[in-house]
Symmetry: C3
Subunit: 364 residues, 3 copies
């Protein structure tokens, strides 16, 4: 359960829904006539919600939890209502997309926390005199805003962040504590960057250089930039490298989880989402509305079409032109079973030859 | 070799062992009568230890190094002593668990370093007036302790750390430099968190939202918390996300190496240890005394039983109910051998049919 | 395209090449006689370069772009010149190693940015009075230099970096913002460390300790150090752990990309390069001039010979004694194809037996 408001802040269900952003969502409240309008203080799961929480039914398999839930109100589709007795102990918010409605309500609750962050430049922050700080910006303690940087109206820069020279952040974006933006980076509006994220470090580029020593490397200075669109979220300790010559470009509404690595010159299309620990090597283009599940790996210089979904732990080593789901992961087994199968795996080509031989013998 | 003490600090072997925490360990010293009691300044491996270091024999395969070691003293089991001449150049600390004795001695040496950290609030730290700082706490330079946070007695907060609103740290815990704790996080006592760790960033949750644009995402604000038990160690750049509604919970004595990702709502049981680069996706429950070797990956919404051991690089994609060791990793080979076997791998289903056909023909 | 200089700074091609470090590179300029000497302001790819940029042909497959390029000058080998008309709209820098020449020119351009960083100790930095800061050092805002640390001449310490007690940095090295160096770390000269990198956190070492509780762990304090050679580059959020007793040692000219994990006591030989998301477990020795592609994993206590190349996503679980390329990655396929093949994979040992049976029947 997640109680966000204290008792004095509790809000009546109908007022809550009036304040929540319900754009594009149709809903109506089906009240329990025997009870007063419930006062809501937070959100809970069906199994754990208390009397001051709203819950939701986003998956039919949890229908059986409804009779037992202690939630004050439940968001659920008409189909579920039809299967319930006329009177339930909770009020119902009837909506065909309960999961989205829940997301919108969760945002409303979290806004209390964000509103509590003072819209001021903390006196300990180091802000370059020529940086442009628009209205309503919050800059946390010990944050550093370097020369010629620009922070758009309403954005929040967390404590100990570093915003490099010439770097631009749009409006209403949030950097949590300890985010590092290098020089010449562009962050859009309504973005969220989590702690430990590093945007704009050098791409990994070295030219073989044996003019001084066999096997030597000559660094290729990375002169490109990183450009993030609007509504991008970047997880904790995720790194996006600057381009070598051209820029690394992340589209609008791209969602990257924690510990992701995006190499130099990569382009990621709108609405693409990647779960944690994914790596995308340099110069690869991933188009729009793709998903890459956790620990997926994409080699460099590839093109991945729109609407491609990569399963967790799978390595993409060539272009993918068709939408669909792709997988390449060794199935786990007990260690002893794995040992036997892995041993045979290393003889597969030989095994095929033996089958060919058997087939040949048969046909003779 | 690791010389920790300078010459003036050198300590006699018997005094050292009196000061070390030997609870639960039986041992006795078998001295070399021809030599004075050795003075110890650090710990070395059998091969590299010098005359002022103590060493240990934790694996019988290193027995052959004993005659040559220059160590002043060696921790070893009775069985090894029985196979040695009566007089060796080193003193012997006879103990049936030399590895654990070594660990306890190493802690004793490292305490010198920890004791040298001043138990004060550095004047450059930014500590909220309503934060609770108990006795004997050290807060490093430029650390930030936000409103209503609480730091338990004897804890050390390294330089440039950020401790968010309402976050609580127990007693005698250590945060090295540049650790980030979000708001409403709970860290137990005797924990160690390494630099770059981020605890409490948002879990990765988005509801599909095409009310504005096809393929759009609506952020699900993460209202839960992260709770760490006692004696937990968190490696450098490891990230543990806060829960969506419920909390992410890490049990007592859990040990997480570097660059690990723990998703939202994950629960990890007591004494479970994970090596570097492991990822655990959201809502998975890993029970007690498990180990996951490096780069293991665990999908979301799974349950892993007690005493399960996952091999390095293996992907767990379904529940594991039985204790034991599990593996799923493609065996490495020269590239040309791999190419041949991988090509056949993609025809495995067809190969099986051909075998079935051969078997059918035979039986006809 | 990457325009680095403003119009007033534009430099004539011949002057540019005189200033660039061309040691070991032979080249000559073949001018277009009909045009004035081009003024160069940056570097572009053949496809995107503008009239004030220099470009390069590093791969014959891009030869067809030459007639269309708008670049002011192109670096290319004599062989390419031979296939072009006598007069091209661009000046030619004829050089047999255009890629290396490009790298050297890119460094020259990037030096403008580095030279703009003031060679001073920012007044907000916290520098221990007993730290040694050599000449021409730059220490950024809110950086922390702890007791007895030493910063070599010409090095740049970025904002918010933490340099621990007794840690030494050589000459002309660069730490970008938010790098963390623990105590007793040694960084060579001409190194580059990117933001979020953590050098010297504790190695992952615990002795099983059931003297207090079943399944308990006793921390093994890590008393060793980390030593980096010269010309080492460390990517963003890469972590290198300190040794348990001996040191973790990274050779000269080693290049590590982002999000790499190097375990305690690892040794990496000169000129070895690793792409992002690689993990190397404790006590492994990787020799010289090796490469490990992205997300490669190397188990602990192994030895990898010189000139070994590991493919992306491959797990090395035993020693490699011979140079060459090694691979072990499950080939990706559509999910349905993968499902069929993966199912058979788990019956491989049984399949082999069936083939053996067929062969046996045949020979009877």
């Amino acid at each position: 359960m997640a109680i966000v408001l204290n008792q004095n802040q509790a809000i009546a269900l109908d007022q809550l829904l009036e304040q929540v952003d319900t754009q594009g969502l149709e809903y109506h409240i089906k009240s329990n006539q025997n009870k007063p309008v419930p006062l809501i203080r937070g959100i809970g799961s069906l199994g754990n919600a208390g009397q001051s929480e709203i819950s939701f039914l986003s998956n039919a398999k949890f229908f059986s939890l409804l009779p037992e839930t202690k939630a004050a109100a439940v968001i659920l589709p008409q189909k579920a209502v039809d299967h319930l007795p006329a009177e339930m102990p909770f009020d119902m918010v009837v909506c065909e997309n309960p999961y989205l409605m829940y997301a919108r309500i969760a945002q409303w609750f979290d806004q209390f926390r964000l509103d509590a962050i003072p819209k001021q430049i903390h006196p300990s922050a180091i802000v370059s005199p020529d940086a442009i700080i628009e209205e309503g910006v919050s800059i946390g303690a010990l944050a550093i805003i370097e020369s010629n940087a620009k922070i758009g109206a309403g954005s929040i820069i967390g404590p100990s962040c570093v915003v490099g020279r010439n770097t631009t952040i749009g409006k209403n974006s949030i950097l949590y504590a300890n985010v590092t933006l290098y020089h010449d980076v562009t962050i859009g509006s309504h973005c969220i960057l989590h702690s430990g994220a590093v945007i704009g470090a050098d791409g990994f580029g070295f030219a073989p250089d044996s003019t001084r020593e066999t096997g030597g490397w000559c660094k290729i200075s990375q002169l490109g930039r990183v450009i993030l669109g609007d509504y991008v979220e970047i997880g904790a300790c995720t790194t996006i490298d600057r381009g070598a010559i051209e820029d690394t470009i992340i589209g609008n509404d791209v969602k990257l989880d924690n510990q992701i690595m995006i190499g130099h010159n990569v382009r990621v299309g709108d609405h693409t989402a990647m779960a944690a620990c994914v790596g995308v090597a340099g110069s690869t283009k991933i188009c729009s509305r793709c998903t890459i599940a956790g620990a997926g790996m994409v080699s460099g210089h590839l093109t991945i079409a729109d609407d491609v979904h990569i399963s967790g732990g799978s390595a993409v080593t060539s272009d993918i032109h068709e939408p669909g789901r792709y997988t390449g992961v060794f199935p786990i087994a007990t260690h002893s079973v794995w040992q036997k199968n892995a041993a045979v795996l290393q003889q597969l080509a030989q095994l095929r030859r033996r089958i060919q031989q058997l087939e040949k013998n048969k046909s003779n």
